[in-house]
Symmetry: C2
Subunit: 331 residues, 2 copies
């Protein structure tokens, strides 16, 4: 395992030290060392909170900052933050206007967020939640509630964070975040597995010369293992899956996000995006804004995800609002 580590058991704490030092203009520590807080939070606004396992940089702490998330609860690698961390993240974000907790659909996160919401209620803090479920490959369309949240969470945080920054009420923030994720679909293609530092070997395999369509961020099985395709073929497969599901149709205005899974060279993500863009144009789908880079990763996995969100005037305004975080800076 060719990695940059001390004791793998301490990697999350050590990573947080380095992260907080580097981005001290954007984020700051809290009393709970597994809760990160935005340095500048507008007064009197609804709190916006997220959280999740580590190993997905920039997610989750990389989306804490002005006009996006106010706090994030930090879990171990690929596992949920504790209920106590979510509760402290709520407390740090609360300004008496309530808290929107925007997170991904994983069993550990669901359980811990639910517990934390109950605990917060007892302390007089109102928390409402939106659960991201944008991964089309993780369950059929009639079982949306079973789908996982993947890179579409970034659009959910962007919309919810912007709505809160613009002075939205808790219900408006929740409404915007829910609208964002309801209008978002994603799919991933995995080319290589990843290795958890404390394990030392990959806990799943992708055979050389094949690719796994629909793979999850923790190696959750996809819908098909097939021969490795060209960028053009991968793009077609991704656009077909995502567009058919929503569906995204001629005349739709969309935001598009292509994220690497960690180790795929960024130049290849641009090659893939160029193909995706051509396919969307052919379908008459209009790209309002696009993002290409490592926005939601899985350690050193190779591969990429495609995320598309259909926009209306409200979502367009929210997506376009400037933002400053480690993972996303937009003027």
């Amino acid at each position: 395992m060719q990695r940059i580590l001390n004791n793998p058991d301490n990697i999350v704490d050590e990573m947080l030290e380095g992260f907080l030092k580097t981005h001290k203009d954007i984020v700051s520590k809290t009393d709970n060392k597994r809760v990160v807080k935005a340095r500048k939070i507008r007064d009197n606004k609804v709190g916006v909170v997220t959280g999740g396992g580590s190993g997905h940089k920039p997610a989750f702490i990389g989306y804490v900052g002005e006009n996006m998330c106010d706090t994030a609860a930090v879990g171990e690698i690929c596992s949920s933050p504790t209920a106590a961390a979510f509760l402290d993240a709520f407390k740090e974000a609360d300004q008496g206007q309530g808290v929107a907790c925007l997170y991904g659909n994983y069993s550990g996160d669901n359980m811990n967020v639910k517990m934390a919401v109950k605990m917060a209620k007892r302390e007089g803090i109102t928390v409402k939640t939106v659960v991201a479920n944008d991964d089309v490959a993780s369950a059929p369309k009639d079982q949306l509630e079973k789908r996982r949240g993947v890179a579409g969470e970034i659009f959910m945080w962007k919309a919810g964070g912007a709505k809160a920054a613009l002075g939205g009420t808790l219900d408006e923030v929740i409404g915007a975040a829910q609208k964002a994720i309801d209008n978002t679909r994603s799919v991933g293609i995995g080319l290589t597995p990843c290795t958890l530092p404390a394990v030392g070997h990959p806990n799943f395999q992708i055979k050389e010369g094949t690719m796994e369509v629909g793979i999850g961020h923790h190696g959750e099985p996809g819908i098909e293992v097939c021969e490795l395709e060209t960028a053009k073929e991968m793009a077609k497969r991704m656009v077909d899956l995502v567009a058919a599901d929503k569906p995204f149709e001629k005349g739709d205005e969309v935001a598009v996000l292509v994220s690497g899974l960690g180790a795929t060279p960024v130049m290849e993500l641009y090659v893939l995006y160029d193909e995706i863009d051509q396919l969307l144009e052919k379908r008459g789908i209009v790209t309002h804004r696009s993002y290409v880079g490592n926005y939601f990763t899985s350690l050193e996995m190779m591969g990429a995800t495609l995320t598309i969100m259909k926009l209306d005037d409200e979502l367009k305004e929210l997506v376009d609002l400037p933002v400053e975080t480690m993972g996303l800076t937009q003027k």
Copy 2:
């Protein structure tokens, strides 16, 4: 080779298509498809140009944008842009105030820049150059002219680009860029090799359980192959090499940049940075600003580089100036 590609021979052109579409608010095409230009360039300023081989994203095109580079010439993977591309990059950047060409010390780039400078002169464009040579591992200190340019080029572009944006003359821009690189030292540690898409297999090896200290961005041999160390030990090795060379000493104010080589998970870069920061603090070296992320990569190589620049008041002002590029956005 688990990569996202069409025909490997077309990867640079296809990457550029995707890059230009994604960042159309920052960059635009020119008549030469291997030259990228900033969308907004202040009037009547000195032109700032760079260029280099592809496969190092965000370098080089990722540093084109407001207050940094005006144009970049784009080469094939790991090989220099042509003299014609450099010449066109000069022409696009020239506003009658002269052009500063800030690039890295590689034989192909040296040759092609020199030819392009001569051709530009015949067309009435004055071009002066600064050649980055920040890699301490690539030659002894008494042979600075043999050293390669690595991630320290980012500080050179930042300083030169800022000086030009602030209205500096050609000599002032060249002076600032030269001062930046003269005050900058870097070293890299490689953990895995990388594979050129058109080749299909790594053209050098790093044995599992070992690491190569001082490796170059194209697999150029380092100064030592040793057993894989902990993050703490790697940090000590990097700080010792870099600090002894300048030297960086107690009381110095510095900018620090830790870049991944492509495939190392970003969380590990923060672990490494935390160790580096502790070592600098122990030495009484004061970090004015730090950058951690994938700023100068080598396809899917694993490992990291450390770059340190000693600051004076002028360099501090130049480093702190806001910038908006794909690779570096700073408010």
